[in-house]
């Protein structure tokens, strides 16, 4: 069944307003969800998406305004109330206890009991029922940490179904999924839709919003900037509503590729795929995209090039000189830099000031008298980066943990740019970053290649690969499945190679 605009709304908000110690997070938001509808909510970071979702899920209370379920006013004052009403929120970072098995997770806190003990037989049987509903073919006794992220997400959805969810709120569900896993998720979403479950879908990825959503609401600065119905959804309109201005193209860039081979990789093998040898070459000023599904071994290549993971074999040459990497410090010395995949875990020390974070990689290079910190250099570098990268922070003493995702990523970039690297390795450079910051990062990447810096970037976002790379290498299960020149590049050609459906001889 397809939702019609005249069906009775399942959920409605009227004039929801929320202030955090005076700062307005949501202003007078009206928002309507109909049964069986996939309602996408988009907006830049800080636009109020999470706050609205937290209010609907009972994590926070609005200061004013009303929530109606089936036309009746309700007070959602706790997560339990929301669950009782059938509203379930699935967080971006999944909330599973990964040391427990699938069944235990689905029934966590609601374990069926028999004679005061957990009734494992019943858990198994009922869990199987919900796993079938999401087409997840795993034994309920499997421990969650054995599952891929995509499957873990299905467990979350099964868990939501087990509490009879009528409204499922999904926050960036595909942010760590491969394309195939995402497809699978969309199929499950469509099935749920047919059963009348309404889905509120929060995403930064406009491509998939277009693919899956029946309706889009755009939040901007805490206000509902407008909604688009199924036939109005297109990329430019969404971006325009999000940023409040017209962006006719995703990102248009110029090429600065030279003929100089900068980085030559010969027959390297990584721990993830020890049997596959990889060879490729990147030229100075080139922007080489590494595309492929999650788990294809792309991040491992970057980590090996940066000396984080030891090479199992092969050689890396930088401008004709062979690199001996015993650790990241050797790579840094040689002029490489890596912006890692996991910003909070690998990129930043969240509880150390922005200044210290930006300075960290350069301490050794700028040291004085052999061992002493160069504090003035550190301060100047940090402030230059704050300015150049337009990092929104109170000062260079602020802790990165209080910054938005986009600004955090800019701090990581700043750390490396302060060292003026020759080769910049970027792993998912704009993951979880809002549209505004994305544009800054893209412009920066372009600027760097103009200055002759070589960029090798891994991205799971198709739009990013298509618009940013001069040349794309597509990986599939640890191999280079093929190489695409800019004119050969299209969503289809990348997916063909990434899924191993075709093999272009290299």
């Amino acid at each position: 069944m397809s939702p019609t605009s005249d069906s009775q709304p399942i959920l409605e908000t009227r004039g929801i307003t929320k202030r955090f110690s005076g700062v307005c997070a949501l202003a007078d938001v009206d928002f309507t969800v109909r049964p069986g509808e996939v309602h996408a909510v988009i907006g830049e970071n800080g636009a109020g998406k999470s706050t609205l979702m937290k209010i609907l899920a009972g994590v926070q209370m609005p200061d004013s305004g009303q929530i109606l379920m089936d036309g009746e006013p309700v007070v959602v004052d706790s997560v339990q109330t929301a669950l009782d009403l059938g509203i379930v929120l699935i967080h971006q970072e999944l909330n599973l206890s990964d040391n427990l098995d699938v069944g235990a997770n689905i029934f966590l806190g609601r374990e069926p009991r028999r004679f005061g003990c957990i009734d494992f037989a019943r858990i198994g049987k009922q869990a199987q029922h919900y796993l079938d509903m999401v087409a997840l073919n795993v034994d309920p006794a499997t421990v969650v940490n054995q599952l891929t992220i995509g499957r873990q997400q299905m467990v979350e959805i099964a868990k939501a179904l087990s509490v009879n969810a009528r409204i499922l709120i999904m926050d960036e569900p595909t942010s760590s999924l491969s394309r195939l896993e995402a497809e699978n998720l969309f199929n499950v979403i469509r099935q749920l839709q047919n059963q009348g479950v309404a889905i509120i879908y929060i995403s930064h990825r406009l491509g998939e919003v277009k693919e899956i959503a029946d309706c889009v609401s755009v939040l901007r600065d805490g206000e509902n900037a407008g909604s688009l119905s199924r036939d109005e959804i297109d990329h430019d309109r969404m971006v325009q509503l999000m940023v409040g201005r017209d962006i006719s193209q995703f990102y248009a860039r110029r090429e600065y590729v030279t003929e100089e081979p900068e980085l030559v990789v010969k027959d390297i093998r990584t721990a993830a795929w020890p049997n596959h040898r990889l060879s490729f070459e990147v030229r100075a000023g080139e922007m080489l995209g590494l595309a492929g599904l999650v788990g294809a071994g792309r991040s491992e290549v970057l980590r090996a090039l940066f000396g984080i993971d030891p090479l199992l074999g092969g050689e890396i040459h930088l401008r004709g000189r062979k690199l001996e990497l015993r650790g990241a410090s050797d790579a840094i010395q040689a002029g490489l830099a890596l912006v890692p995949e996991d910003r909070k875990q690998q990129g930043l020390i969240l509880e150390m000031g922005i200044r210290e974070n930006i300075g960290l990689a350069g301490l050794r290079r700028h040291r004085q008298g052999g061992v002493f910190l160069n504090r003035s250099r550190e301060r100047d570098d940090a402030n230059r980066m704050l300015r150049d990268l337009k990092i929104k922070a109170e000062s260079d003493r602020q802790l990165p943990q209080y910054l938005s995702g986009g600004n955090q990523q800019k701090v990581v970039l700043g750390k490396w740019l302060a060292l003026e690297p020759r080769v910049l390795l970027l792993d998912e450079p704009t993951r979880g970053v809002d549209v505004g910051a994305k544009q800054v990062i893209y412009r920066l990447m372009e600027e760097l290649t103009k200055r002759g810096v070589t960029i090798l970037f891994v991205s799971s976002e198709m739009e990013e690969v298509l618009s940013m790379s001069d040349r794309t290498i597509v990986m599939h299960e640890g191999r280079i499945a093929g190489e695409l020149q800019r004119h050969e590049l299209s969503e289809e050609s990348v997916m063909q190679l990434a899924t191993g459906r075709s093999n272009v001889p290299a």
């Binding site: 940066f306 990129g347 020390i349």
Partner: protein, 332 residues
Amino acid sequence: MKKNLGILSLLMFVCVVTALLSDGFLSEFNIENLIRRTALFGIISIGAAFVIITGGIDLSIGSVVCLIGCLVPWLLVEQGLSVWWTLPIAFCISLGIGLFHGLLITKLRLQPFVVTLCGLLIYRGITRGFLNDQTSGFRGQFEGVRQLSLGMIPLPGTDVGVPVPWVILIVVAVAAMIFLNLTIYGRYLFALGRNQEAARYSGINTDRMIILGHVICSLLSGLGGLLFVFDVGSAQPVDFGNFYELYAIAAAVLGGCSLRGGEGSIVGVILGTAVMRVLKNSITMIDQIPNKIEFAVIGAVILGGVTIDELLKRLAATRRTASRVKESHSTE
């Protein structure tokens, strides 16, 4: 410095209470003794702080104190070795222990808690077995070198002096402060204590730094063992240095080190040590407190101090957000 105000006020509070409730607390003898003991414990607490800053823990401090404290008189008196041989041997053993801990923790990825817990058992067991539980003492000899602990440097123009261990503590503390705050390696320690992975991705050789932290800790434990036995004159393998690791860790934590790593200041650690020593002293000095409940009192005061500190921190954080909001309003 602001961070140390809390612990400083706790120290003042305990001092004032003890001074009011006892007669002997402010006597010259007691004060001098207190300073001497604080200095000795301060040295091992600084060692503990180094490991805690890396996010680890060292439970073997007391046993290293015992090992070195028993070994040194044995080498000097029983074996007739000269001071110039004995001290380097003690240094090398301590260094070796720290290296051993560090390598097990970084290369085999064992947990610091487990490694040093086993160290605690092993070094004491070895010492007891080796000396057959016999007391090891100087028997009135080596008065010269014992001045490292017993000596006083008179302040010119007055009749009071500074105990030598206090001078040693100051040297160690200043060196530690320079290392932690002014060198890149100090910054590396703080960084990896907060987030080891991010530190590694920033080109820091985290393994080497963690090993260094453990080596510094064991060296200072060994120095502590040496000075403790110089101070007392003899050491019994059964109980010499018992619980010292816990005193050291408690002092470091009181002084602002977080067991999560990446936090701590040397001045705080010394103040923390002083609180521990004054507390212990006050229980002896105040007649109304029975000595048997010593541990309970120390535990309760530390717990109270840490709780108040945490509550104050939260209060400050709430105020900060409130003022931030005000600012953002006024700029709008």
